[in-house]
């Protein structure tokens, strides 16, 4: 009777969920679309604003001596030299991005081979102004090099003298893929934890508090089906829906990483099948854990609204260890991190993505996940068998 009832409840819940267009849209369609859209707009938005600033660097040059530098600057295509009567005010209000003050003695100093001083004004609270600042320093650096080259030439010395060592940097990963992997090792563990919480949430709320609110729980409890069988059926349905939702979010993430013009500029990352398998397993277990916790909270709540209110803090609390570790470097994670709840999950996922399969880290983390799941299921069972919880109205 037991497993038959579990299967019966499981299939009924899935049928019920798949007939609910709203839930399907929220938990499967939106996660699939959100990342491609988000990253596309973020990427193209950033591209456009960068281009706009780069092509139009409005800079004021105050040059009392009409120096060779200001003539050099006038020849630089991306600079747009403008007049300004009040440099600081104009920078502050964004009329110009930066300003350069060239002293009267500039050319004379250069001629005499004395250090020539310049004053560069910019707004360090503005991204555009900072871009202008770095563009200007690069241009001045290039100008300096031409001056040095002339000086060396005058002394009949090769400019190789200035570069005694030449570095040829070679990366272990294809350069683009390395960048993509770094982004992925920071982003994916964080995202997977978030998906494991948000994926089963809607369904967990519906199958506990929703059942109470609609008045279907009480008739259900009068049938011969044992409460534990009902609980297991619901728990598996929540896990399946949570996983489907996570898979759909991941597909969205993969699409967004491959789309050109997006934030990742189509930097394709190849992940080994074994890594995908391990990541999938961790995600499954984590979804089971959160599914059980959310079902417990949901069965305690009197209504949908109450359940959602109680589950939100769970999300916030879970973010702390997850965010705290998301910048860690996968290749140097201390073992004690693998004993911290959720931090261990992010760390292990990071290692997997970096191709590290440390047996003791895997064993410690999996042992902990199993403990979390057993504890969460026992908690759900406790809640499901308590009269005060079931009849809390």
């Amino acid at each position: 009777m037991g497993t038959k009832v579990v299967k019966l409840v499981f299939l009924k819940e899935l049928k019920d969920i798949f007939r609910d267009r709203k839930t399907i849209f929220m938990s499967l369609v939106i996660p699939l679309l959100i990342f491609p859209l988000l990253f596309y707009f973020m990427g193209s938005g950033m591209d456009q604003s960068v281009k706009k600033i780069e092509e139009n660097l409005k800079v004021a040059v105050v040059d009392s001596g009409n120096s060779s530098l200001s003539q050099y600057l006038a020849g630089v295509e991306k600079l747009k030299l403008v007049e300004s009567s009040d440099i600081e005010a104009d920078i502050k209000n964004g009329t110009i991005l930066a300003a350069l003050e060239i002293p009267e003695t500039f050319d004379a100093d250069i001629q005499a081979e004395r250090p020539a001083n310049l004053v560069l004004f910019y707004d360090n609270a503005s991204q555009a102004s900072q871009m202008a600042y770095s563009a200007l320093t690069n241009i001045i650096e290039a100008y300096s090099k031409t001056v040095v080259a002339q000086r060396l030439l005058a002394r009949d010395i090769s400019d190789d003298l200035l570069t005694p060592v030449v570095i040829d940097a070679r990366t272990t990963e294809d350069e683009e893929e390395g960048m993509g992997k770094l982004m992925l090792s920071m982003l994916l563990p964080l995202m997977l934890v978030i998906f494991s919480i948000s994926g089963p949430m809607g369904v967990a709320v519906d199958l506990g508090a929703g059942e109470k609110e609609r008045g279907t729980l009480e008739p259900l409890l009068t049938t011969q089906a044992g409460r534990l069988s009902l609980l297991w059926g619901k728990f598996f349905a929540i896990t399946v829906m949570g996983l489907l939702s996570t898979v759909s979010s991941l597909l969205g993430l993969m699409i967004s990483m491959r789309q050109s013009g997006g934030l990742f500029q189509g930097s394709a990352v190849t992940i080994e099948p074994i890594t995908i398998l391990l990541i999938g397993l961790v995600t499954l277990l984590l979804t089971m854990f959160f599914g059980a916790v959310e079902l417990s909270i949901s069965i305690y709540a009197r209504s949908f609204k109450e359940a959602q209110t109680y589950i939100s803090p769970l999300m916030l609390v879970s973010f702390i260890p997850t965010y705290a570790t998301y910048l860690l470097d996968a290749k140097n994670i201390d073992t004690y991190y693998f004993h911290i709840p959720l931090a261990n999950i992010t760390c292990l996922l990071k290692e997997f993505l970096a191709g590290i399969y440390n047996v003791s880290h895997i064993a410690i983390t999996f042992a902990w996940i199993i403990i979390y799941i057993v504890a969460a299921v026992l908690f759900a069972r406790h809640m499901f068998s308590k009269e005060e919880v079931i009849f809390r109205t």
């Binding site: 019966l8 019920d16 008739p219």
Partner: protein, 243 residues
């Protein structure tokens, strides 16, 4: 069929049901009457094994509610008032079949029982449509079919007509009489005296968790020398409240 023995339930400091005892025979309708909070729903929930008694016990169809709760649930059908508690996204038939399967019926038994109930309650036209768009009366019929699909020997009705319009209430009342014809033991809780007088063979009046009267309608009327059952009830409730 139903034997209640010194049944009690305490919620923390409140004694909701205080050592009540009564019995219901086959084909008998017993009205469980009392004001809101008197302990009617708690009693029915204990009989349905949803709540554990803190004292006493009860036997249903020979099964003890403490020792054989699963068997007891197989013997009882429950119909609640208020929300019908159906799954809106399932069809009427699927709702009924789900409960049949949860009660351990085979496919063949379920089909036979569901078909019979569809004809009995005249639901052919809409039974395969989703419940979400049903009228209240249609939903009520599905809920009735669901409560009896596993052919229980005992029926518990917890204020089943609360919030129903006249015709929907009529459907429920006819169903209760149908159950009596089928020789089921029935407990019917209500606070409508007219309804109780119309349907019940016997009355158990409870107040603050205790039984204050147990007898047939005519016995009670004779005892209190009042032809109006509502007056008798108000008098009894007032007396035990110390008014």
């Amino acid at each position: 069929m139903i034997e209640i023995m010194e049944l009690s339930k305490r919620f923390k400091k409140v004694l909701a049901v205080d050592a009540i005892s009564f019995h219901v025979a086959k084909g008998e309708i017993v009205g469980l009457v009392g004001e809101n909070g008197a302990g009617k729903t708690t009693t029915l929930r204990m009989l349905a094994t949803m709540l554990k008694p803190t004292g006493g016990t009860a036997a249903i169809g020979g099964y003890d509610i403490l020792r054989q709760p699963g068997k007891v649930r197989g013997e009882i059908g429950i119909l609640f008032g208020g929300e019908v508690g159906l799954y809106d996204r399932l069809t009427g038939r699927e709702n009924i079949e789900y409960f049949a399967a949860l009660n351990g019926m085979t496919r063949a038994e379920t089909d036979a029982s569901v078909d019979k109930l569809i004809r009995l309650l005249d639901m052919e036209e809409y039974i395969d449509r989703r419940v979400g768009k049903f009228s209240r009366g249609m939903k009520q019929k599905v809920a009735i079919a669901r409560s009896i699909v596993h052919q229980p020997t005992v029926m518990l009705f917890d204020e089943p007509t609360a919030g129903l319009d006249v015709s929907a209430a009529r459907i429920v009342q006819d169903f209760i009489l149908h159950c009596k014809q089928e020789e089921k033991a029935i407990i019917f809780s209500s606070h409508s005296m007219a309804e109780v007088e119309k349907l019940c063979d016997r009355l158990v009046i409870i107040n603050k968790g205790r039984i204050v009267e147990d007898g047939t309608v005519s016995e009670l009327k004779a005892k209190y020398r009042n032809d109006n059952l509502e007056d008798v009830f108000v008098q009894l409730a007032g007396e035990s409240n110390g008014n």
